[in-house]
Symmetry: C2
Subunit: 222 residues, 2 copies
DNA sequence: AAAGCAAAAATTATCTATAACTTCGATCGA
DNA sequence: TCGATCGAAGTTATAGATAATTTTTGCTTT
């Protein structure tokens, strides 16, 4: 992944912090102190503050005036919300992308699906899954829509990593295959319907908490 | 409208600039120079830069590293894109809001519709229209969805003001009435379908350019 | 003239310094 | 002992200064 050595320090810090928040390296609710972050990245706090504004817009951090910014908390409600927004927007994107999909693109998407099925950890599964979605949606040529979907994918990944912190069992993704088959046949509506259902599937999984009790964890698995 | 005297200078500048960009007071493509803005608002450029990041996230400005930020340009393609995103997301919001709609809310929405029909200028029509949509969608209780819709409304308003800079003819909004009637009857699907069509209606209007020629202007009118 | 180049001016991005506000803890009084 | 108040430490927000880059301008050359 290009680390973008040419973009501004603020952007670099923003990406680094986003990565940590998504991966769960920083806990929801944790305070992000500008001087500390600045010191870590060997900068002043000015670019750090700009990075915070970006994270805020992505919904990864929340800021209260004069009281600093913290990593955004989330709950089942937000997981559902993101799932439904993704369903609505990805279906829209797919309808516009479909006429521009080539068999080369669909082959790449199939490769991504296979890579996902082979993944032994969440992180690489998420990467493959995201690649699949991006491949079949990007040809829609709607930049604003794609940017919004990207932010939603970032949120989804966060939910996923929070629930499946370490354990992951390989599974074959039938939905992806069904979507590709429909697209190859030119049956856009069927592909869109499957995609819409697919991204709203919310996986559940019992998780041990620090106190030893078990609770249910939720995440979008698609 | 609350000017939010308690929020940070960066937020205040962001709102003020957003207002100017939306109203067309600053042309698409115009450069936003941080020192000039800072001087105008009697501040340093640090909060100005933070405001720029916000505008960037909203899609109202674009920034190139080391080369400053300019007011975002837009074309018919983006108007269509925003219209379709609004259709997808507002329909989603309405489906969730419908069970929580009270007749008090619907009465307020009807008032907003009447205010829109009476409006003699674009600005007040836009305000009434936005109020209508917000009233019937807010009860969905999905903050992320509502925030995204708000940004799309800002973009819509910009397109509208660009096309209908001054002239405006009053018109009665049958769609709004049909939506309210369906909602009062508890027919959510019918209301959603009408809303989805409604926000995708793109108005066209001949406009004289500076060079004297006429071109077509486009905007979402709903 | 037109194109290319170079120095000057303007502008962005960052750093250091300062002021204002919050938070936390200790002390005092009921 | 509990609660409130005051003060110190920590943190955020903004200002002012500096370095680096881009844009502009004017000159030179073809």
């Amino acid at each position: 992944m290009a680390k973008g050595t040419d973009d501004t320090i603020a952007v670099r810090i923003g990406k680094a912090l986003a990565d940590r928040i998504i991966s769960g390296a920083i806990e929801p609710g944790a305070r992000l102190r500008q001087d500390h972050v600045a010191e870590e990245f060997n900068t002043s706090h000015v670019p750090v503050r700009e990075a915070f504004r970006r994270l805020e817009a992505q919904g990864l951090a929340v800021s209260e005036p004069r009281r600093g910014v913290r990593v955004a908390a989330f709950d089942l409600g937000e997981v559902k919300e993101v799932a439904e927004m993704r369903a609505a927007l990805e279906v829209l994107a797919l309808r516009h992308a479909a006429p521009h999909l080539t068999s080369a693109i669909l082959d790449q998407a199939e490769e991504a699906t296979k890579a996902g099925d082979k993944s032994r950890d969440v992180r690489s599964w998420e990467e493959a899954n995201r690649a699949f979605h991006r491949l079949i949606l990007a040809p829609c040529g709607m930049p604003r829509l794609l940017a919004t979907i990207d932010d939603l994918h970032a949120a989804s990944a966060r939910f996923l990593f929070a629930a499946w912190r370490s354990e992951w069992e390989t599974r074959t993704d039938q939905d992806h295959r069904a979507i590709l088959t429909a697209l190859r046949r030119g049956n856009t509506e069927s592909a869109a319907a499957t995609l819409g259902r697919h991204v709203q599937w919310i996986g559940r999984k019992p998780v041990r908490t620090a106190s030893g009790a078990t609770r249910e964890a939720f995440a979008i698995v698609g």
